[in-house]
Amino acid sequence: MSAGTGAARPSADAGTAEGISVLPAGSGALLVELSSGEHAEAFHAELLRRRARGELPAVREIVPGARTVLLGGIADGSARLARELLTWRIPPLRRDTGDAVEIPVVYDGPDLADVAAAWGVTAADVPRIHAGTEFRVAFCGFAPGFGYLTGLPEHLHTPRRATPRTRVPAGALALAGEYSGVYPRPSPGGWQIIGRMPEPGDLWNPAREPAALLSPGARVRFVAAEVRP
């Protein structure tokens, strides 16, 4: 392939190994791309373990994405770190036995019937299946306190709504693709709403330590609450 601009076009990667690519993101930042969301979560978990053990050079940010982890503000030696990352053996994601964050929800969302149809179950089955699933926070974004939660098997992935809503209320529990999430504040949105968290203020409270209820890597369970009349 000829770039026409000669040396201006670097190779696609800073490096590639099996199932992992390290891409430059300006100076002092690396975007590590993994082969799947689960692999990205496992890589993120390994990064946190190594950082906790003091085995990672100083980085200002570790920002997981859907298939990636961004390492930002690498103090020095980002080229060396890029080479090193490719040699890591990443243990598979563990199903931890520690405490999960429990989120009380009422499963009474307006899209329950649509989600049930997409899953091929009855509307009454959706809460049972959803509350019976163990989720993990794959990454955060969109708004402070919003976690993209994975855990639903592939056959229960859910298409977005054909027409996004102009306003989704704070606390809405919604599904799109492989993700579940709870809106920390009102916003437009195209996700399918299956329920609501009665106390959405718990998701994000800057006066609390930690401010975010959900942070990447955390385990999450939804607990069905009774519908109050």
Partner: protein, 286 residues
């Protein structure tokens, strides 16, 4: 002596800013902070403050405030007419403002954003360690309105004396050094040539989230959606219309449009001061 300032004229968009909220991107928290970091540091230094003290960032039309105690103030960044109770005073240098007098920073003569630093710094309640207003997610103090009151910190006993201080000038042409990646392979070779050879202009739709540009569209070599991934300051994101957007301090922490390259951070102060219509050239930075 502590005290407070009262906003007499808030202007088009005036926000409290400091060095920003860095290190929280993994929770979806943008970094925020003054867009023109060198001006923020210089204004604070001349006011006798630490470089990361909170100050005001204006947009185009300036602002006016009244302090309830005598205060040393510095108006820097975008040049503008500065007055105290209507009398012209120095721009870009420490000014003694008596208690109850109105300090007015007029509309920007060049550039976009002026900075008003006050001895002792502004002390609205910090959020995650920063007093910066973040306009994407609404963290920190809201944009100022007339009548708002902001607490002031203790003034340093003696402001730093400086003779001649060079303030960076607003760019006549904005030259942005770019390092390609992480997603330049999503674009055609033609698009990569266009990025570094065509002239773009600053779009009037630019804001603290991003410097939007007008110019030739960059065509993708690869269609489809990019799964959300982390975004860095200075990332050049290319939305479906093909016009590059340079992410500034209030940028979203993750995004789903491919980033063709990243602008060197030291060039972003110029981006903060480039008025709509300014010519933009992206140049290869290796």
């Amino acid at each position: 002596m502590t005290g407070a300032i009262e906003v007499v004229r808030a202007g088009a968009l005036t926000t409290v800013q400091d060095a920003g909220r860095i290190g929280w991107a993994h929770l979806g928290v943008p970094r925020a902070g003054a867009l023109d970091a060198p001006s923020r540091r210089l204004a604070n230094r001349l006011a006798g403050n630490p470089a990361d003290a909170a100050l005001l960032e204006t947009t185009v039309t300036g602002c006016a405030v009244r302090a309830d105690r005598p205060v040393v103030a510095v108006v820097g960044g975008a040049p503008c007419r500065v007055t105290v109770d209507g009398r012209p005073v120095a721009w870009g240098a420490p000014v003694h403002v008596p208690a109850g007098a109105v300090l007015d920073a007029g509309p920007a003569v060049r550039g976009l954003r002026s900075y008003l630093a006050f001895g002792g710094g502004l002390l609205p309640e910090p959020v995650l360690g920063s007093r910066s207003a973040d306009l994407l997610s609404g963290l920190g103090p809201a944009p100022l309105r007339d009548g708002d009151v902001l607490p002031l910190g203790h003034e340093a006993p003696r402001p730093v004396a400086a003779d001649v201080v060079p303030w960076p000038a607003a760019p006549g042409e904005l030259v942005l050094p770019v390092r390609l990646g992480p997603r330049h392979t999503w674009f055609t070779d033609e698009a990569l040539r266009t990025l570094t050879t065509a002239t773009y202009r600053v779009s009037p739709h630019s804001n603290r989230i991003g410097l939007r540009t007008e110019g030739p569209a960059l065509t993708r070599a690869r269609e489809g959606e990019l799964p959300s991934e982390g975004m860095v300051l200075g990332a050049i994101q290319v939305p479906p219309d093909g016009r590059p957007v340079v992410f500034l301090n209030d940028h979203p922490t993750t995004g789903g449009y491919p980033v063709i390259g990243v602008v060197r951070e030291t060039a972003l102060a110029g981006a903060a001061q480039a008025v709509p219509g300014t010519r933009v050239r992206f140049v290869g930075a290796g």
